[in-house]
Symmetry: C2
Subunit: 418 residues, 2 copies
């Protein structure tokens, strides 16, 4: 067998565990020097392949690569860049082949979500379409948890844990303050198309917290919502609201777009949380507080789920094994075999069945009244937030790795992105 | 010596470690059954004393009290309620004495910030002013870190740690995304009058992060700010901004008030973060993300500073010891004796020198250009965020205590709050 180099890139919005997958890919590749030469990482994702900005991960000592396991975000840089079809932009595919040829690359590992699976699938067809032998394996990653054919996606469990912990903590706070001050706390979380992340906020109901979850899947009904908040505050003295950024009215208008204007008339300055909070204030008169977690939720490696970190690593590891087994155009997956005790095995799925397919949250994960989660959802979520995987700390802050990211010398002329 | 009961109450905005002080008070009181009978907690702070809503902490097993050490927010409820002067509202003071008499209370422990120190001082004068023998000890607590005569205030160190960790993590995220997407991340933090909390965001500069801190102490200059962001993005490809909610223009207008209007013309729907982010977008065209941490920062017991937890407990403990030593109208304090290695001793300060005095952040804690912190500030902050004190977890979430909060039977007629 010839020794070939591997290309690895991170794509789309980063997560607190995508580097754990990178760690799994690189450490596993290093165990097979008879088959895999070096792992070249794309600087800023697939763009690095197109512009021949390759990072020599071989220049990093084993400890630096090991430290990726507990470092959030994308160590090599990510990008939002979707390859067009071969028919639409043949030039890009030909450039990829030039770069891969110049650097002896025979393995392609792409770490991303739905759009990236599409890119990876297109690259996996290069052998067939342009005669360049390449094995392309997709490593799943998305906090949105919306990839099909896998029980869950690395990145999601840690966001879910962050949201559940934060909602619990802030709810304890508002409960303390409710007698004379704040009675309603609103937390805005990510998830424009599906309520997977918001659902995690619903877990605090098990801890006696009155909580209203606003899902993108449930059309927002202001009157019903206000009646529910009123009911909970009358009953408990306070309540928490977890609102998905994707929550919208029946006509599709997002709550975040509702009428917020700055002095210049620009829309959408604020998020959904302040809109919801203001609504409660106007209708019910309650003092409120609101928070928007934004990047904090997906970068919060300090409170990552141990399950999530482990799976992120294992899927990176398995991606390399699949390549060594001669596979192409596949993605390793999580196949759950039991909820409690939680058990799963690593499977694989063909990329053409993954690319451009979004897995919605099942309606039966949302309670009949639309304000919370069902037992079925709870059984799904709990194993994914299980366990803590703390980074090391120095001087009060986590020790997160910043790699040297040494450039591989260029061999080709420059390439302009379209 | 007679055995007297103690009253303990939580006041003002709660923190992630105020219950650690409660734990220190109650556990220490329990060690002196020859002097202290029961500890009665005020339900919702001082209001519980006025309305005779007392909680029997004696009904809680030792494990429940111990669990307070790792539980955020106020286990007995807090309140925002400031006693007027004796001249203005003699009725309230007479009621307090009635309640204290009825329940054999001779010790008064009040756990709060500046306003609460004022209330505690007024109560400490009851012996002199109305002839009721009582020892009142203030237990400091405020995330604002603005009490005088103590090196720091319990609650602050944990918020500082949360802000520093969150800024570091989100900065890693935006650094990953900057090539094709988000270039500026803005985090809004608490601190209306002083920049102690915002300063903690400045700590990430030590980790190579380009960060701009917007302090309440430095009048906001839009042109200078935008030039600074532009410079950092050109140099590093991205930057983070930590903005205090108290950041304001030279005329005193808060950034958060700048022109944000909802469809009904209501002001101040959003916070400072979206205003700053929008400013950057308009002037420099950079894609941005913003977060508002709000309650999450002060409730985040999961990432509390071990130093802070320890000091919160010790100050509660010392408050009881001061009472047993016969002291009145004092507050235990932290006296720092060395920055590195960090060392401190517990002292005490007279309440009349604490009440209604705000400790500002020294100007020489802020860098000359106004965008960051100095070495002096760094030396001050680092020990306060040192160490992790993780709560236990079950089913993926922290095990936080909810006490039974058994009511002490009433002995007096009802009392209407003014």
């Amino acid at each position: 067998m010839p020794i070939l180099n591997a290309f690895y890139a991170q794509s789309g919005g980063v997560t607190s565990v995508i580097n754990a997958s990178a760690c799994g890919v690189i450490e596993t590749a290093r165990k097979h020097p008879d088959r895999i030469g070096n792992v070249y990482a794309g600087r800023n994702g697939i763009i690095g392949a197109l512009t021949e900005e390759l990072i020599d991960t071989g220049a990093e000592p084993a400890e630096a690569i090991a430290a990726l396991r507990s470092t959030p975000a994308g160590a090599f840089g990510s990008c939002r860049y979707k390859l067009k079809s071969l028919e639409e932009n043949r030039r890009e595919y030909e450039r990829l082949i030039e770069v891969f040829k110049a650097h002896g690359i025979g393995y392609f590992f792409y770490n991303g979500g739905g759009d990236s699976a599409d890119t990876c699938f297109k690259v996996s067809q290069l052998s067939q379409s342009l005669g360049y032998p390449l094995q392309a394996i997709h490593v799943p990653k998305t906090i949105d948890n919306d990839l099909p054919l896998t029980d869950c996606c690395p990145g999601f469990g840690s966001v879910a844990k962050y949201v559940a912990v934060s909602t619990l903590e802030a709810s304890f706070d508002v409960r303390s303050m409710a007698a004379t001050s704040t009675k309603v706390f609103v937390l805005e979380v990510m998830g424009r198309h599906a309520g997977w992340i918001a659902a995690a906020g619903g877990l605090v109901a098990d801890h006696g917290i009155p909580v209203v979850v606003l899902f993108p899947e449930i059309e927002f009904d202001k009157a019903r919502f206000l009646a529910r908040v009123d009911e909970l505050v009358k009953q408990h003295g306070y309540c928490s609201v977890v609102v998905s950024e994707g929550c919208h009215y029946p006509d599709g208008t997002f709550l975040a777009e509702q009428g917020t204007r700055d002095a210049f008339g620009h829309a959408q300055l604020g998020g959904a949380a302040p809109v919801v909070a203001q609504m409660v204030k106007e209708a019910l008169g309650h003092k409120f507080h609101w928070a928007v977690a934004d990047y904090l939720q997906r970068a919060a490696r300090h409170i990552a789920s141990a399950t999530d970190v482990k799976q992120a690593y294992e899927l990176g590891q398995r991606a390399v094994e699949l390549a060594l087994e001669g596979r192409n155009a596949v993605m390793p997956t999580i196949e759950r075999t039991s909820d409690a005790p939680y058990a799963y095995r690593i499977g694989s799925a063909p990329l053409d069945a993954v690319a451009n397919v979004e897995k919605p949250m099942p309606r039966d994960f949302i309670s009949a009244d639309g304000w919370g989660i069902t037992d079925k959802c709870r059984r799904y979520l709990l194993p994914l937030i299980e366990g803590e995987d703390y980074p090391a700390y120095r001087n009060g802050l986590p020790v997160y790795a910043t790699l040297r990211n040494v450039a591989v010398p260029r061999k080709l002329p420059a390439f302009e992105l379209a």
